[in-house]
């Protein structure tokens, strides 16, 4: 039983390491700023999820029996979309990606609208 658990956690380690590597490789390989956002937010998050699952499974083989690593995983899964959202807002605000089509119902996208009335970014104020 313990041997099976050990092998399963070893495989989870390999899967997690593979996904983490793919996430960072995608960050380096892809050429468009918005495309780069996809690789780390998905592959990176699942990679860490698998590593943490491996850690939990391994703790059952050594008799520590800890499940609290799952909190780190839950926290990462909740915060990863928010970080990605903020990074894409930065791209939209600074115009470093393709201009999106205008929204069909309202006037503007929120980020563009904010940029007009919010305080200027320091580097914009200087130029």
């Amino acid at each position: 039983m313990i041997a099976i658990l050990e092998i399963v956690s070893a495989i989870a380690l390999l899967v997690g390491a593979l996904f983490t590597l793919v996430g960072s490789y995608g960050l380096l390989k892809l050429d468009d700023p918005m495309k780069r956002l996809h690789a780390p937010t998905k592959a990176g998050t699942l990679g860490i999820g698998a590593l943490i699952m491996a850690s939990i499974l391994h703790s059952f083989t050594t008799g520590i029996d800890s499940v609290h690593e799952i909190l780190v995983m839950a926290f990462l899964f909740v915060t990863a979309p928010i970080s990605a959202h903020f990074v894409s807002k930065v791209h939209l605000h600074r115009g470093t990606c393709e201009t999106p089509p205008p929204p069909p119902e309202d006037k503007v996208w929120a980020t563009r609208g904010q940029a007009d009335d919010g305080p200027l970014a320091p580097d914009q104020a200087q130029s």
Partner: protein
């Protein structure tokens, strides 16, 4: 139906448990963080679960009405399954496709949802699932801007998100209307 139940509930209960689900969540998180289910831990968790919602109640904008926890659980399992599938497909795209072969586009999704919590959950779900990242919301919250990594047809992406996730979220949060 849930609306009238909520009004019938005694006022004292509402004051002691302003957010019943938050109380349950806090007890579970406390038990996980201390890594035990001993009676002492649970008692301390219950105390925290009552005190924290009680004292932070004035700072919460409003309590969501008509929330269905059990549908939420089945939705969570659907999303977890989709995350697994999505990660494998995105990893495959990143590893095998050349940059020039990827057809990444913007997709605009007109929203039927009006509750802020539901829109937040939809945006989070979109970011964690197949090749899409939610980028922005229109200024009055009627459309969501989504970036797709590799989509042949933007309309198909839009329709899939609307039928697969938005319809279910509408059932969870806004089924009365």
């Amino acid at each position: 139906m849930a609306e009238s139940q909520a009004q019938d509930r005694p006022k004292l209960m509402r004051r002691v448990f302003p957010h019943p689900l938050l109380t349950v969540l806090l007890i579970v998180v406390w038990c996980v963080i201390t890594n035990s289910v001993a009676p002492g831990t649970i008692v301390l968790g219950v105390i925290l679960g009552i005190l924290i919602p009680f004292f932070t109640y004035p700072y919460w904008p409003h309590v969501p009405r008509g929330f269905r926890p059990f549908k939420m659980v089945s939705y969570l399992f659907l999303v977890i399954w989709d995350i697994l599938v999505a990660n494998v497909s995105v990893a495959w795209i990143v590893l095998t496709k050349r940059n020039s072969d990827m057809r990444s586009t913007w997709v605009v999704i007109p929203l039927d949802l009006r509750t802020p919590e539901a829109i937040t959950l939809l945006a989070g779900t979109i970011t964690l699932t197949p090749g899409t990242v939610s980028a922005d919301l229109s200024d009055e919250g009627h459309c969501l801007l989504v970036h797709a990594l590799d989509a042949d047809d933007p309309n198909a992406v839009r329709d899939e998100i609307k039928t697969r996730y938005e319809a279910r979220l509408k059932e969870i949060f806004e089924y009365e209307s």
